[in-house]
Structures are given as C-alpha cells and as structure tokens.
Subunit: 351 residues, 4 copies
C-alpha cells in the first residue's frame, strides 16, 4: 500500500449486521483507518466475537458510545430512533456523519410522522442530510457533511424505477412493487419469527401494505408529481439479498430497445449498476445470491407483449448496496476518492 493520508473513521453501533459489513469493508479500505467501534452490549469484547468472519483480521475491541473520541467521519449503525436523539453529541465528535438508520431519510417531518407514527426528535436537521443513493444524489454528496443511507428495500426499488419516473413515462397511480427479502433484514436479535424451524422455507407476507420504505420511494421518485407506489414485502428463504419485482404501466408505447436506451442513458457510467437481460442461459435476470458481499445493483426488465406493462427486476445485497456498501460509496464520494475503493469484491458463483 502506498503511503497516503488515511481518514479516521469510527462506527457507533457496530455489533449488528450492517455494522459488521461496514467493518469488513472499511478494514480493507485503502483510505480509511478505523479508530473505534462501539457496542453497548458487547463493550470490551473483540469485534470478531460478534463478526466471526473477522477473526484474525481485526484486533479491535468494542468501546461504549460514551467513549467515542473525535474522528473524521462517524458512521451511525444504531437502532432506528437513536441517531436523531443523539445527533447533537455526534456532531461534536465528527465533522462528517453517515447515518445508516432510518432517522434522517425523509425530508419532511410530516412524512416522518405519517409513516413512523411519532414526532421526529430533530426535524430541523432533516434537510441537512443528503439522501444516500449516489446514483441520484452524487453531486450533493460531494463535500456533504451529512448523508443518510437509504433503506434497503427503498434502494432496490428506486434504482430499478428511477429512469422511468424521471422521464415521467408511467401511469402514476398503477405501479406495483413487490420486494422479496432475506432474514438478515430483520437484524441480529432473535425472536419467534426468526426461529429457524419457523423461518426456514417460509414465504411470509411480511408487510403486504404499510412498509415504511414506501415513504422514501415516493419522496425520491415523485419529484413534484403526486405518485402512488403499491408496495409489498415478502420474506423468503434467503439470508442476504433483496429482489424487487416491479410492475410499471407505460403512458406511451415503448419497445424493449427504447428501454435499453433509457437505462443506458441513466446508468451507463455507473460503476455499480449492471443491466442483466439475457435471452438464453440460466442467469437471464438479476439474481440476489450472485450479489452477496458486493455493492452492485443488477437491473433487468421485460416488456409484456400483451399489455402496456413493463416488469422491472432489480436486486441488491441488502447489507451492502442496501446499507454498508452504499455508505462506503458515499464516503468515497464525500472525499473525492474513486467510488469503487474498498468495494471491489465481485461476488461468488456458485453460491
């Protein structure tokens, strides 16, 4: 490794799954140096006790939140609701903050109240956080102080649909999105619904309606126009990964070649978006298991020959592009680094 100045980063709340992935990515990031990682429940323990893949890779021990010292960038991986309660103290610790919780994703407090059913603890900061999807907010991220990583289900949906909504190609009230998710979305706390004999092989209609990520989707895709996204989440047999099957209805006739063009224009230069649409073989559309550990969002589509429907299929690793990887990509953009730094893992096959 050449001699470069490293950015000193700390992680608040690093014993969960997103925190573990962030640790994995930052440990091999050539421009980052991890100063501290906090965990209230595991203070003093080695991080590899919580993240067994990091055995022999990290000698870090968990600190408590109150032991966190000043650093360059603070990543927040705390349970939802804690970041907004403590944001004042975190701002004193670090000039730059990337929050992976849901607290600062919505721009307007009214939206937060509607979907989270409580008041926001720090509404005046909502507008200061850049919504963390680089493909939509890259320019704002450059030099930003605060970034709020997007929800995993929101990320996979927004990235799949953005080109259509941006160009206002759709009937605005008919979009139906169903996201298939794995068990890691529920975090690392066990409970009856995550008990293996019950969760294994399940096809569980987790949130047929009312999923909070819908608020982010409407915020990001609507851009001034009132839209509806009919959104459902189903848990399936999978640990990592999210796949959105999106049913869009075109206002005007588009051929598949037009849709190819649409995506190329939107994402042609994106390092982490791949269009996956093959006419033969067994990997014709995005497949979340191929993305485990990677920062890719793979997107495919089909035009229904019998109607004006387009089916868009997008896939991510919910813990990487949907959480820790998205945060590292933002970190890279904030500092002017190559966006792919620390995010080079290509994924495994077979898996």
């Amino acid at each position: 490794m050449s001699v470069v100045d490293k950015i000193k980063v700390s992680i608040a709340g690093g014993s969960g799954y997103a925190g573990g992935e962030l640790l994995r990515l930052l440990l091999s990031h050539p421009r980052a140096e991890i100063a501290q990682v906090s965990s209230e429940s595991q203070t003093g323990k080695f991080v590899f006790k919580a993240h067994p893949n990091l055995r022999k890779r990290a000698q870090l021990q968990f600190s408590s939140l109150k032991e966190l010292r000043p650093c360059d960038v603070l990543f927040l991986c705390l349970p939802h609701g804690q970041a907004m309660e403590r944001i004042a103290e975190f701002k004193k610790i670090a000039p730059r903050i990337v929050d992976l919780s849901a607290d600062f994703r919505l721009n307007r407090e009214s939206e937060y109240r509607e979907w989270y059913h409580k008041p926001h603890a720090c509404p005046e900061l909502l507008r200061d956080f850049v919504y963390g999807i680089p493909e939509l907010h890259r320019e704002e991220m450059k030099g930003a102080r605060f970034v709020s990583s997007a929800g995993c289900n929101a990320t996979v949906t927004i990235l799949g649909l953005y080109p259509f909504f941006k160009r206002r190609l759709l009937e605005t009230d008919k979009t139906v999105v169903e996201v298939k998710v794995g068990s890691s979305e529920g975090g690392n706390s066990p409970g009856p619904s995550s008990h293996h004999p019950e969760r294994s092989g399940a096809v569980r209609s987790f949130m047929p309606t009312g999923h909070r990520h819908c608020a982010e989707i409407i915020q990001e895709l609507g851009s001034g126009e009132p839209i509806q996204v009919h959104f459902s989440v189903t848990s399936i047999e999978m640990v990592r990964g999210a796949l959105a099957t999106c049913h869009l209805f075109l206002k005007e006739k588009l051929e598949e070649k037009d849709i190819w063009k649409l995506y190329r224009e939107a994402y042609g230069k994106e390092p982490f978006i791949r269009i996956v649409k093959e006419s033969d073989g067994i990997h014709r559309y995005p497949e979340p298991k191929l993305l485990a550990g990677t920062n890719y969002c793979d997107i495919g589509f089909v035009k229904d020959e019998k109607s004006n429907r387009v089916v868009v299929i997008s896939a991510i690793d919910n813990l990487v592009k949907g959480a820790a990887g998205q945060a590292v990509q933002a970190f890279n953009i904030m500092h002017g680094f190559d966006e792919t730094e620390g995010l080079e893992f290509p994924g495994l096959h077979p898996i």
Copy 2:
C-alpha cells in the same frame, strides 16, 4: 375398512411428480383401487424406485401405455401435448378421464393457439372437459365424464381472486399477480436451471410475462367481461408450494369486514379453503410450507389503508391442490363420495 365397491383406476404417466402424488393419495383412498400405472421410461420397475416414499407401501410395477387395460377412471399425468394426441384411445379404455396436463383446460381453440403457439390436436373435445377447480365447477363435475385439472399457478390465483371477480368489485385492468413457486413445478427432468448449485437459494424471475396459466385465469375469472390480469412467476428456494400475492384495486370502498364477509359467502362451506388472517403471532397469512402434502388452499388478505388496493395472499401445495389432490377431489365429486376422502392429511408443523 368396510366392504365397499371400489372404483378401478389407472394412471397413464405415473413416474413424474404429479403421478407420484396421485399414487400416494389413491393408495390410501378407501374407495379407489389402483389397477395399473404406466411409464414408458420405467416399464417393469417397481413404483417405489421412482417414488421412494412408497417403499413398502406399493408393490405395483409400471406398465407401458399400450398395456393399459379397461378401467373405471383413467388419470392422465402425461407431458403436455400427449393427452390431446391420444385421447381417442384413452376414451376406449375408460368411461371417465381426469387429465392433469394442460391440454384440455381452455374452452376455446383460439385461446389455446394464442398461448400455446400451436393448433390443438382435438379441439372438438375442449368443451367436453370440465375445468377442474371444484370450488367453481362442482355442479358440472357431478357425473361428468371428463375433467381437466387446472394449472397449479392458475388454481392458487383463481381461488384467491374469484369472489372479487364474481361480484365485479374490481377495476378490471389493474390486477397484478405474482406467484412464488418451488422447483417441483418444473417436473422431474434435470437440466442446467434445476442444477442444485444454481437453483439453490435462487430468486429467479422465471416468467415475468407470458405464463400460460394466465389464459386459464382470464377464462375463469372473466366470465363474459374483458379483464386483464398482469401475471408474473418467480421461482424461489422451495421444493413444493406456490404462493400468490395479488394486488387488486377496488371500484368501490370496502372495509376489511366486508371482505371477510365476501370470502365467507363464497367459501364458508368449502372443505379445503381456509381464511388465514391473524393479527398476532407468526402465522398471520397463508404459508405454503404448512400445506405440503395437503389439499388446502389458504387465503388471506389486507386492505391498504392508503389506497383502494387489497392484497390477497393465497397458498397451495402445487402438487396436491394444484395437481393430484385437485384431481382426487374431482374424482370424489364425480362419484358422489365425500370430497375429503383420501385427502385428510393435515400437513406438518414445523417443516
């Protein structure tokens, strides 16, 4: 077992998965006696070589098709396209026929051509077959000579949606249905897409558009009115089971209690339909794994508070209610037996 006259049944094409399930069900059916089971590839072998669960349960050996002798009821489990080619000879063997293939599901040849992309070999018989969903066609089945079992994905979708369409409660062009299916739907022939390292853990957009079962769905739900059902099938990590997530849009306002009433009126007396909608616990909606081996179709629903959408969730075992069990239920109705004869298995938990 009391002394009763048994119906002599044979199975044409009994070495596949649906044939195996039919064997399992008929072997313990108190009113059926299995005379012969055919398989061209396994002629002469014991049936438990193909269906290892029947070891020590059946001493039958596979015959060839041409060895089939006259019987009371002939079940056809042949690959799609063969039943319509050989139906004349099968009619000579048995006065009653239950076909589990796709050949006689559609009423009109024009529809067959459109979805199967070839002419039908015996269009004059299409109207003679009763479409095999008992909940819709019970009266026609009584005493019927020919029944065509419905497609598994069509069955789970039609049963979930029928009460809404029958009462014309929906916006007719907006219904979106996504069915999640297991690998047994693809039959027992190995290939690259069913190779375990590739298929395991897959979330594969198998038929985002153009699935043939859509033709049956429109035929059965439309009943005179032109309707659209936007239909997609996704393969997930599962061997048995199908779950349909259906997004319906109401023409008029309905409360959840109205929908409860709708389903009770439609299915209150149905022995194999259960409404599953709990407000607590981990089994709030239908779960296909709980139905493995059973003839149930479980149906649940949610009304979206923010729109006129209703999400209907229905689940079956694709090889039972979606194939062999549905056929046995039809067999029971055709002969005036109790519909649950031979179909009493309640399913396993945990599984």
Copy 3:
C-alpha cells in the same frame, strides 16, 4: 368409521413441537379421543394458534396443567425435569402414562446423575418405565402402565446398531456414531443459536462429545457387556429429521449378504423399519427428508472393502419415530391395537 370404544387421552404440555405432532397423530387416530391438552403459556388459546397445520382440524383449546381431569392415558410432553417432579399427581390422573421427556429413560439413577449432572427426583420409578423403542421392548409394552419414549438421536442410533450388538459382532470399543440433526430438535423457543441468519446453512458441531442420548444408547446396546459408543451430533440445514452415520468394526468377517440376513432376521416383521440399499438411482441409502411426518426408520449399510468397517446409515423423523410417533406406536401396543393405527402417512416425494 365404525363404532368402537375410544381411549380417552390427554396431553400435558402440548404447545411444543412434539406435542403438536402428537396432536396431529391422535386427532386422526381411530381409537383415540383427545380429552384435554395443556399449556401454561397458552392456556385458553386454540391449539391451532400454536400448531397452524391444525387450523380447521381441531377446535380444542389449551387447558392449564392443574385443570387436567382423569383420563385413560396421559402423554407427557413437558420440558425435561418436570415429569419426574410431578409424576405422583400424573399417576392420580391416569392409569397409563407415556412420557416423551428424558426423565425416565435411564434405568439406573447413577447413570442419570452422571449424564444429567443432578439427582433424579423420583428414582424409585425408573425401573417401572419401559424404554419406549417397540422394536426392542414390544413384549414389555403390552399391558405396560408406564412407557418412556426414547431420545430421537438414541432411537435412530439404536435401531441402526441393535442387530450387531445383540449378536456381539463388533469390537466393543471402536464404534463411532455421528448424527446429523435439524433445528426442530432444539424445540420451539427462539434464541441466538436458532436465529435464522445464523442457523441457516449452518454445519454446527453441536455436541461433538457428551451428548446425553449416549447414555441411552449404551444402556440399550450394551446389555451386560461394557461397550463404548463414540457419539457426536452435528446440526445441519434441515428442520425435521435425523440421520446417523455409524462406523462399526467387525470382530469377524461378514459379507454384505450376511448383513442383509442379520437385518432381515432382526426386523423382517417390523412394520416401521425398511432396509434401504440400492445399487443404482439417487435414493440408495436412507434419506431423512423422505420420512418427514412418517413413523419409519430407514436403515442402509455398506461394507468397506478395504477394512473390517461397516457403515450403517439410519434415518428417522425426529418428531415422529423419534418422539410422537414412537409414543403412538407404544400406545397401540399397550392397548393391543394394530401398531400402524394412526401412523399410516407414507411421507412425501419430492420434498
């Protein structure tokens, strides 16, 4: 169903997995009538809330233990340690008791102390309980008052090895047994080790040494002679099922045909034991998934051509032949019923 006198049975502790299977089996047992089922945590709730497969099949509600009324047979499915504490009161309720816990499996208190690391609460009754494997203790069960169902891992091991030990064919200190088990063995209480993201796909060396079922195995196989069974249990990706791979070392030369004969002599008339040993096809040896829901123990074997080792492979459904089914088989024997009553389910394929 013909008119027969039914045995009135109750279940103490019926909200767990073994209790649920016992309910499933007894509900369709032609000679049993379920009077009460207790659960302290779910008193008053319908049993289908705990056992969702029984929806529409049972209108029973859970009682509390203290509400249990006199009955003909009481099945105990309580957590280990409770049966021996309360056995006096249970004896007042029912003349016959089948205990599915570990409390009365060992004949000698010294063994109990050694393996369970505490004194037994009721050692004077240890000799009154018949060890519940019918294939070894059928005669004692006929008319017995008390039966203690064997441990699941003990059952699968003992049934595989019994013919060799009975005939003293083995080097007594070299037997190595590894049992592969599913997650349902751990019961229905969630915890960190059963959390789906951690348990899914695991190959976890659960008990490499020191598993308590080893005490039962030595007791049942030793019969007077000191023996050693080197026993390990590994948890794998599976919900139901247990498969024992047993490495035996022959004192004298035996050919495979001799071993066939040995098993035929031992088990030729057993209704629930099948020898599975095929020279072609994909189901050459026992496969636990094929046994889900059944009371079978499938056994296969191979003689190592390069040594005196025999590999014996045996498989069961841990919740059926390893628990509830074994208990129902004992119930049938105790009452002189056909042993297969209520245990006819043949299992599913594919699954």
Copy 4:
C-alpha cells in the same frame, strides 16, 4: 497499483466452478495477468456467461485448448484424466503448471491404479509434482515447476489431522473421518442427483466408503507408517463448503491445553489457518458458511472426557482452500510473493 512485472497466466478448462473461482481470484491478483482461458464447450463466449459474478469485471472470451499460447504459468482445471493425457503439450506451453485435477496427486502409480481403477497415462511425472497443500509442502513449492492441488475433502481432513499424525500421537487404525459436503463438489453438470427437488434438503450418504481422496489422506498423513483412515462423505444442504468431523484416538493422555499447543506449534505462523474453539457464543467451532469465498481452513477440537477420543472439526470452502485458492497460494509461493496476495477476502457474516 504500483508498476510491477506481472506473471502471465492462462487457464485450461475455465468454464467449471473451480475455473470460475480461479478467474475471480486471479482477476484481482496484483501480480498476475490472465492471458487466456479455455473452454471447449463455450469457445468464443464471454467468461461472464459461465461465471455471472464476473459481469462487468472481465471482458475475456473463452479460447479453445488448441489456441492456448505460451505463458508463464498454466493452471489446469480440466476434468479428471485429461491433464495426464495432455501433459506433454502443456509442458511446451508453460514452464510452470498447477494442476487442479486429481491426476498428479498420488506419488505412486500403484496407488493410482488401486483407487482410480485404471493405469496412469504418465506415471513418470508423478514424482515431479509437489502435492499442493502449502502447510505441508511449502519448501518444495518454492521454485517448483509442477504443483498438483489437493482434493478438497483431502485438504480439509489432512489439515485437521496433520499435527497429530506428524507427532505419531494416535492409535493408527482407528481414525474415523466424516466429511459433510455441498453440491458444488459435484461440478457444474446437471444430472438426476443434482436435480433441485431431489438434492434440496438431502442428507445423502454419497460415499460411505471408497472415496478416492482417502488415498491422498493416507499418503500425506502416513509418512512411512502404515495407517488407516476410515473415511466417509455425506452430501448435505449446502452449495459451498466442506466440514470434516474427525474422531481420533490418542495413544497417550493429552489435555486440551496440550492440543492447543500442538496446533499452535504446527500452524502458529500459517496465514490461512485459524483455530476456532470458543467456550461461549454460537460460533464455537468451525463453520463452513463463514468461509465462503475465503482461503481459510478453520480448525477446532474437543477432548472427550469419557474416553481417549479427540474430535477434530475442520472446515474450508471446497472451491477456494480446496481448489482455486490453494492453487493461488501455491502460485504465490512458487514466485516468492506474499502468500496472501489475491486471497484477502475475509468472508461474509451473516450468510
């Protein structure tokens, strides 16, 4: 990346699973430059068609074998039997060869005949190949021309047992090893036994006796002394990964602390071996899923308190430490590079 001379490597037979992993590792190896990759079945196609994880990562197209041009190192990932047939031509192409097939693993032709049941095509070269486990043959590898990567099941077994055998601590005729393997071991050709409905959830006694990797194990562990390793392989629900459960019987008394010391002495400086033995938490012993994509071999152990048995548990990713990663580690040693070059991926959690 600093400017360094890169080694020009080619891969013969790169469309299979081991070839795909080799491509993944070499594409990000700072000292390797991939010149060509051959595949007879996919000549002319882009490598990402066979290895979908490499989409957007490699623009290579498959060549045919006969198109391979001279290079510095040739990796052979051909089906067993082809390397020994074509080794003369391969030696003309490259001064250094790493063979991932089974052809050159055994030192003596007699052993090859005994276990592979046919004569070896090129026995005179058997002694020229270094057996590819670096932990045993590092010194011979430095500057070696020919290396033969070890079998995956042999690798995981040998690494677990080597310290005991090297020190002659065991009763030599009693060692029992059972390896649990995933479906990727069978390669990428579909067949009845890999068909998902059959293979899913299987616990298949794949090779209870007679597995060819046993020959390598005896060769490497025996070192002059006649030993027996009773070896069985069971396929379980898993795609990647191998876990060996090894039952060893000590000649003399050893405490657990002595065994700790034994392993520390043998492997204390090894970059890819980790001793995993925790007294609490859920990750107490090696777990293959945590190793997916990594070059680690994790090893744990337990001393049985009731006998002289030690249970050693070792785990690898069969496609990395058991194939492609082992080959890259050898490549690094052959060229004097840091052994961890290109092998830094730490694995994922949860997965």
